[in-house]
């Protein structure tokens, strides 16, 4: 049985660096496939008749998927910029080919490509989370000014993007009519503002890793940039119902690794804001002494309690 792990991603991507670092500290055998170099000029050969023989070549290095017990991947296709526009079709072809090789690969992959794709639509994910039994904030995705006004009249409101394009979540303050006129060009997702403490719950292979976040920023991910306070501590236990929901929802989406964002209000209610199928978890793992990465690496090696 292979005992090596393959990590695929961009060098600057912090979860990639974090998992590689934890693996090194544990003395695990890990290879790294540089996604930037592969997309720029690598090649791939595989047949679905023998998917384990998939072979990737990148700058003189050769990777045979059969050599690995598992793969941790953070595939992403950068949008075409002016310098790459001519090469972009081939970059996209390499991206799709690698995605499909990982779909056909029989070993463990975290996460299998396309799992949890609903994250590309936050209102769709909100709808699915509510169907699954999570408590979700009242939401309105709208391109109509009058509907925005009616929703906002119902209480304090935050705004975010509908798509998976990253946006800074913030409170809706005074909005002038000129700015509101832009709604006609693109809908915006508005949600009732839920006050309380943030909790991030990572699910890895059926185990949960909750972290409590205290911050005076609306979007704690940008607390440092906005000179706001942030403090994170491990949460010792989750309510059993929340733990069950997180584990079962991740499983229903085919996800080994998932990150759930909650607000815990003063009445003790857990509000699920969203679920990330490719979470950047390193900042939380630092307060957990690397427990998330260890569980992830253990899963890839078939030994959960690494």
């Amino acid at each position: 049985m292979p005992e090596r792990i393959l990590i695929i991603g961009f060098q600057a991507d912090t979860p990639i660096r974090h998992v590689a670092s934890v693996a090194a500290s544990l003395g695990l055998a890990v290879d790294y496939l540089d996604l930037q170099r592969y997309l720029g000029g690598g090649s791939l050969q595989f047949t679905t008749r023998e998917p384990e023989k998939a072979r990737v070549r990148v700058a003189g290095e050769r990777f045979l998927l059969a050599d690995y017990a598992g793969v941790y991947q953070r595939l992403a296709l950068p949008p075409p910029d002016e310098t790459q526009r001519g090469r972009w079709p081939q970059m996209r072809a390499r991206y799709v080919a690698l995605e499909c090789a990982l779909l056909a690969y029989a070993g463990r992959v975290v996460n299998r490509p396309l799992s949890g794709w609903e994250n590309m639509s936050k209102p769709l994910q909100t709808y699915n989370l509510a169907l699954a039994g999570f408590r979700t904030p009242p939401s309105l995705s709208t391109s109509l000014v009058e509907d925005f006004r009616e929703f906002r009249a119902g209480g304090e409101t935050i705004f975010k993007s509908n798509s998976s394009i990253r946006s800074i979540v913030d409170r809706v303050e005074a909005v002038d009519d000129e700015r509101l006129a832009y709604l006609q060009y693109a809908p915006v997702l508005f949600q009732s503002c839920i006050s309380g403490r943030d909790v991030r719950v990572h699910v890895v292979d059926g185990a949960t890793f909750p972290v409590l976040i205290e911050s005076d920023a609306i979007d704690y991910r940008y607390a440092h940039a906005r000179r706001k306070h942030i403090d994170m501590t491990p949460l010792l236990a989750l309510p059993p119902q929340i733990e069950r929901l997180c584990v079962s929802y991740a499983r229903s989406r085919g996800l080994c690794l998932a990150g759930f964002d909650f607000k815990l209000d003063a009445a003790g209610e857990w509000w699920c804001l969203e679920m990330n199928p490719a979470p950047a978890f390193e900042m939380f793992d630092h307060v957990l002494d690397g427990a998330i990465a260890r569980r992830l690496l253990g899963h890839l090696l078939g030994t959960p309690d690494l």
Binding site: G41, S43, Q45, F46, T47, T48, R49, P79, P89, Q90, R92, A93, R94, V96, A97, E99, C100, A101, L103, A104, L114, W117, E118, M120, S121, K122, P123, L124, T126, Y127, N128, A130, L131, T136, P137, P138, S139, L140, S141, T142, S143, L144, D147, E150, F151, G154, S161, N162, S163, S164, I165, Q184, Y185, A186, P187, V188, L189, S192, S252, R253
Partner: protein, 290 residues
């Protein structure tokens, strides 16, 4: 108040245009949405006083009055009044909002987005990867141009699709890929026919396609193709689809799925599909939810 039916797809989509003509009847209002970025909407989720509606051609259509939605393609082209970067953002936002609108609509939706089916994402390779769990499927081989040239020299024949441009069906043997490009080969003899199975609701129609398309299909191939099409489309949660099967060997093997426009399907087959799609749109509620 008239019952509203929404058709979402391309303005040149022959199936949708035929279906629209069949649906035009007293008491029914049929609207075509070709550009999701132009049709404004409000999608309310959870406890809020705002109601869900779309605005098509300037007319507000509350969700409560929409009887059925048929989706063959979801596209968004943002206003040219926006800066280039803002246009791509606005398109992504419109598509994301419409995906949620379609998935959560309480009326019948043909075809509803679901965990297994994302109308925006799936390439032929992705669909085959999913299909392998359900039906016999052609094998894929992904190679670079040099390896393809070697196979051609050795006389190994199979249909090729250039992954950089995703040509439909196949490229001829003379195709020479550009340096560095990747090619997807499917295990299909270029001289063998394909079977094309249209599925609309509970009905299927199978016709030959490609080389020897004038020859009748083997009865066993037709039965295999239709059974596989129903199995696969049920797994994807789709009522409407066009499955292409390779008939290179004794088993009909799935190769491609089309849920949008079907430019390669003949007039008679399109009429057959439009009649059934119109009937499906008018049928009693009972569509699957995501």
């Amino acid at each position: 108040m008239s019952a509203q039916i929404l058709l979402i797809g391309g303005e040149q989509d022959a199936l949708l245009l035929r279906t629209r003509a069949l649906l035009a009847a007293p008491g029914k209002r049929v609207h075509l949405v070709a550009n999701a970025a132009e049709a404004r909407l409000s999608l309310a989720l959870g406890s809020t006083a705002v109601r869900t509606l779309v605005v098509v051609d300037g007319e507000p259509l509350p969700m409560a009055g929409i009887e059925c939605i048929v989706v063959t393609q979801l596209a968004a082209v943002a206003s040219p009044l926006l800066a280039a970067d803002d246009q791509s953002y606005a398109s992504a936002e419109a598509l994301a909002a419409w995906l949620a609108f379609l998935a959560s609509a309480p009326c019948r939706v043909v075809n509803r987005p679901s965990a297994n089916y994302n109308i925006l994402l799936q390439s032929p390779l992705h669909v085959r990867a999913f299909a392998r769990h359900h039906v016999p499927t052609v094998d894929d081989l992904i190679v670079d141009g040099r390896a393809l040239a070697g196979r051609r020299r050795r006389g190994e024949r199979s249909a090729a699709i250039d992954l950089s441009n995703d040509q439909p069906f196949w490229l001829a043997s003379s195709y020479a890929p550009a340096s560095g490009s990747l090619v997807s080969l499917i295990d299909h003899d270029e001289a063998a026919p394909f079977a094309v199975t249209l599925r609309v609701g509970a009905d299927c129609l199978t016709v030959p396609y490609g080389p020897a398309a004038q020859a009748p299909l083997r009865p066993d191939a037709r039965a295999q193709a239709e059974q596989a099409a129903v199995t696969l489309l049920d797994a994807l949660g789709l009522d409407l689809g066009c499955c292409v099967f390779s008939l290179s060997d004794t088993i009909a093997r799935f190769s491609r799925l089309f849920t949008g426009a079907w430019p390669f399907v003949g007039e008679q087959a399109l009429d057959w599909a439009a009649e059934r799609l119109a009937a499906l749109a008018l049928a009693e509620q009972g569509s699957r939810h995501a």
